[in-house]
């Protein structure tokens, strides 16, 4: 089953989606309008790039310290959390055990994110990655 559909089948998952490259190519399911999903995709892509940059700085001080490449991030709000693994995101309610379940599924289904994030994100929309990026 597709990751987004599998996530949406879990009670308490508000919305889930996938983004690529600049964050402006996306798909989603759940309680978001298309415009809000577009904003969410850009926001998640931006945060993902940011934490990747930070992990490269960590790595330059302590090589192979276990952080790089970053797999994702979580922001936990008062009632809602946003989880991001690779190029997938999920908005979830703060229910007991839901965060652990969602993170386990996302890590298992997305798999380990490779070292070159831009290549990984661009590859999701197809085309000649090297020609487009370099």
């Amino acid at each position: 089953m597709h990751i987004v559909k599998q996530l949406m089948a879990i009670p308490g998952v508000i919305a889930a989606g996938e983004f690529a490259y600049r964050g402006d190519r996306f798909s989603y399911e759940g309680a978001l309008t298309a415009e809000f999903a577009r904003m969410a995709a850009i926001l998640c892509r931006s945060n993902t790039m940011s934490v990747n940059m930070q992990s490269e700085i960590f790595d330059s001080f302590a090589e192979n310290c276990g952080c790089r490449p970053v797999q994702g991030w979580i922001v936990r709000g008062s009632q809602v959390a946003v989880c991001n693994i690779g190029n997938y995101f999920a908005f979830i309610e703060n229910r007991p055990e839901l965060l652990n379940d969602v993170m386990t599924i996302m890590r298992a289904k997305v798999g380990d994110v490779g070292g070159d994030l831009l290549v990984s994100l661009y590859a999701r929309i197809g085309g000649d990655v090297k020609e487009a990026l370099y």
Binding site: M39, V51, S55, W73, Q79, M103
Partner: protein, 115 residues
């Protein structure tokens, strides 16, 4: 909740506290771990920055969409290849991914920040 208690979380490799600016105050590191105090100091700075950015995004999101439930934020986590760091306020904990319990970590960090 203190740093020694944070080290009791499943898979905990390090626990640390930091100032509002992200400077390391105190830390514990599991023996044999690859985590160094220098990495914790960088991590603390990045966590202060990420919490600030996340607050900006949460406030903007709530304002633009009318959706509620983000603010006040309860924490931020960066998920690395082998470990995850969970932070909030002035406390943070680093845990091995294969043992991590994010909910327990966020709750423990909340308690650490409140104490």
């Amino acid at each position: 909740m203190n740093l020694d208690q944070l080290m009791d979380l499943p898979g905990a490799l390090a626990a640390f506290s930091y100032t509002d600016k992200g400077d390391l105050n105190d830390h514990r590191v599991r023996e044999g771990s690859e985590i160094t105090p220098q990495v914790l100091d960088l991590l603390a700075h990045s966590c202060v920055a990420n919490m600030a950015v996340a607050t900006l995004e949460a406030r903007g999101w709530e304002s633009l969409t009318g959706q509620k439930g983000f603010e006040p934020l309860q924490g931020f986590s960066i998920v690395g290849l082998e470990w995850s760091a969970v932070v909030n306020g002035q406390c943070g904990v680093v845990m091995r991914n294969r043992d991590v319990n994010y909910e327990a970590a966020f709750n423990a960090i909340q308690a650490c920040t409140a104490s």
